[in-house]
């Protein structure tokens, strides 16, 4: 079929079943946007390109579908960079379509020219520059395939302006043929047989669950593994939601702000089974002393993750859907799982002791709104069923610690890159993807202000996002480090809080509420959650509350500072 390059992009998106585009137009994509206009393609216009890409990321995390972003050349494209890096670090599938200046102008420092392919090379799974119209359908087919298969990730397709106007014969390929790209699905079954033998022998195992489980939708397999073996489970920040937090064998988050039980279990265990994890430095603490007594097993789809940070004794490569199902089959066939569960008793009793000795806790202060209490009441009122989207810093850690997650894909946070300003736009995207779910954004006054322009987008599309601002008037996590490690020298972390966030929200069409007294928290949250549309609640919390427990940077996991009650 004859059509223009711009129409070919639209047709390709239809073939991929793309429901919605997040974007922002400009000079180099005028022709592309004209084709969107013509086809009435669903599109969310944000107020900044960074808002668009975080929204697409939130959409992808909440739904499991690829997020699609469009932006113009030059500044439009460079405004996406933080969002692309955010998605790359957390392995989120995005297809990012940017306009480029016309082919004849490339390389001449033309108006709104930026080498976005060069800029995004280290932060994309793959990227393209399209200079010929005929290549468009094939490139887009490949882009979606690469973004979604294997270890997912963002793919940038940069398209020269004149390609959108070029006439082409549209033919959308059925299959992708890439000589250098063969995502692994099935690995070596023999390794799983050997692992089963190790599992039968062990008396002190830990299942360490990461974001890969949420990404590969294998939470049911992990739950089955926990139930079958009776092995205790801990998670990374990205692994929250895979198994409900209130499961008796779930001992919480491991790492810098992890639970005492999870960090002690890691230190004392003799078999650590990592499933879809990266062994990030925020998890391991002092790397040389991480799980010092354990044989390490690592399940991953990406061979480059094995031995990257932690030395692995048994590597299980392959898609978790394949490896976990196979392992379950082998255990059911060959192991006496009842005996195995029995064998766990002393170890579980040790873990339960650790948990009751030092549970997550905080000290309520008279007359003050405690951030942890806000999260606990949000948890109670939504019964763990909300999609929780956070910013980065203290708000993120309190949400991770005090919300009781029940479902996979209900915890959206920038774990790897730690991007402030992520929360509000990602929440917006999650709400677009899940119109019937309760989406609650937990953010701080610092992070909110980084992308507060998206309040306008939330209002315009009447997205019922509930925005909870834990407003301590400081950059809380940085201030906490200054308090703990820099002698209380608060270098530029005081935001002074001169902006009235309630008025700010209302100026953009989002109703605002303020909570200054602890006894107002519940009533206000009930009201906010019951409202049909969006709302922002400004919780005035103490400026010097710390996230505890904490493993100081470079320390061992068992050297944590407890705090709390």
């Amino acid at each position: 079929m004859r059509m223009t390059g711009a129409q070919a992009v639209v047709e390709s998106l239809k073939k991929e079943g793309v429901e919605i585009i997040f974007g922002y137009p400009g000079g180099a994509v005028l022709t592309l946007y004209d084709a969107l206009y013509e086809s009435e393609y669903p599109h969310i216009l944000t107020r900044h390109e960074q808002g668009a890409i975080h929204a697409a990321d939130g959409y992808a995390r909440a739904t499991g579908k690829p997020g699609v972003v469009m932006a113009t050349s030059g500044p439009g494209a460079t405004n996406l960079v933080t969002g692309i890096a955010t998605a790359y670090m957390d392995s989120i599938p995005l297809v990012v379509i940017t306009g480029q200046v016309a082919v004849s102008l490339i390389g001449r420092d033309s108006f709104q020219e930026a080498d976005i392919r060069g800029i995004t090379t280290p932060i994309t799974k793959h990227n393209y520059l399209v200079k010929k119209g005929d290549e468009l359908p094939k490139v887009l087919k490949e882009a979606f395939h690469i973004a979604m298969t294997g270890r997912p990730g963002p793919v940038v397709v940069d398209i020269a302006k004149d390609v959108f106007a070029a006439e082409i014969d549209f033919y959308y390929p059925e299959k992708v043929e890439l000589r250098g790209y063969h995502p692994l699905y099935e690995g070596d079954e023999g390794v799983l047989e050997r692992l089963a033998v190790e599992m039968e022998k062990t008396r002190k195992p830990v299942l360490f669950v990461g974001g890969g489980v949420n990404l590969s939708d294998t939470a049911p397999e992990v739950r089955a593994l926990v139930e079958l073996t009776g092995f205790p489970l801990i998670t990374s920040l990205m692994g929250l939601g895979a198994v409900p937090d209130d499961h008796p064998l779930h001992f919480g988050l491991v790492g810098m702000h992890g639970t005492y039980a999870a960090n002690m279990a890691t230190t004392e265990c003799e078999l650590l089974i990592g499933i879809g994890v990266r062994f990030d430095d925020r998890v391991t603490g002092l790397l040389e002393q991480f799980a010092p007594k354990a044989k390490v097993v690592h399940f991953d789809i990406d061979a480059a993750e094995i031995n990257k940070n932690v030395r692995t004794d048994i590597r299980v490569l392959g898609h978790l859907k394949w490896s976990l199902s196979k392992l379950l089959d082998i255990l059911r066939d060959k192991c006496d799982c009842e005996a195995l569960q029995e064998q766990m008793r002393p170890w579980l009793s040790q873990l339960n002791d650790w948990r009751s000795e030092n549970p997550l806790s905080y000290e309520a202060r008279a007359g003050q709104v405690m951030p942890q209490a806000v999260i606990e009441i949000v948890d109670e009122l939504t019964q763990g069923d909300a999609v929780i989207v956070t910013d980065v810093g203290q708000n993120q850690m309190w949400a991770a610690q005090f919300y009781h997650f029940k479902n996979p894909r209900s915890w959206l946070t920038s774990g790897g890159l730690g991007t402030m300003g992520y929360g509000l736009p990602a929440g917006l995207g999650a709400q677009v993807g899940c119109p019937h779910k309760k989406v609650v954004v937990i953010t701080g006054d610092g992070g909110l202000m980084m992308n507060c322009q998206e309040l306008d987008t939330v209002a315009k599309f009447s997205l019922p996002v509930k925005i909870m601002v834990l407003n301590n008037q400081v950059l809380g996590m940085v201030a906490q480090w200054q308090r703990m490690f820099y002698g209380g020298r608060y270098a530029h972390t005081n935001l002074e809080g001169r902006t009235d966030l309630v008025k700010l929200a209302e100026a953009m069409g989002v109703p605002g509420m303020r909570v200054t007294q602890p006894d107002e928290v519940r009533r206000t949250l009930q009201e906010a959650l019951a409202m049909p549309g969006p709302v922002l609640v400004d919780f005035r919390i103490p400026s010097d509350e710390d996230v505890m427990p904490m493993v100081p940077g470079g320390a061992r996991l068992d050297q944590m500072v407890m705090g709390g009650k």
């Binding site: 280290p122 799974k125 793959h126 520059l129 250098g180 480059a304």
Partner: protein, 164 residues
Amino acid sequence: MKHTLAVLVENRPGVLTHISGLISRRAFNIESIAAGYTEEADTTRITVVVEADEIELEQVVNQLSKLVDVIKITDLTAMDAIHRELALIKVKASVETRSDIVDIVDIFRAKIVDVNRETMVIELTGEETKIDALCEVLHEYGIIEIVRTGKIALSRGPIPAKEL
């Protein structure tokens, strides 16, 4: 230790950027990198020499393999293979020293590819150590400039790297 990797990649614009970008981002210790066309028009072969222990080498290979345009990586280090590098050396050569230099060139089985009143350009193909040795000997005559290609390598026997 040093490892020599034959990296077969798609012959497309941007491939070298992807590879060099990855190497610098992951802070791998690359000694040399040499790229050129192959017997197949759509394939480029890059020879990478990397200084790494076993764990680091595994990371280099696995990270490079993840690049969509990388088709195949073969480690030629432990294999029976031919390793070569080409160097061009411009050296000062007066009437008095010229014949001495010609003798040295003969001993090394190098070639003189340019001569004028004051200088000579010498071409030498061989293993890295041989080129180093010639440079050292020529040093006292006054080396003006050196250019080296970086190592290329090919396994012996009938099987090509893409099938190894």
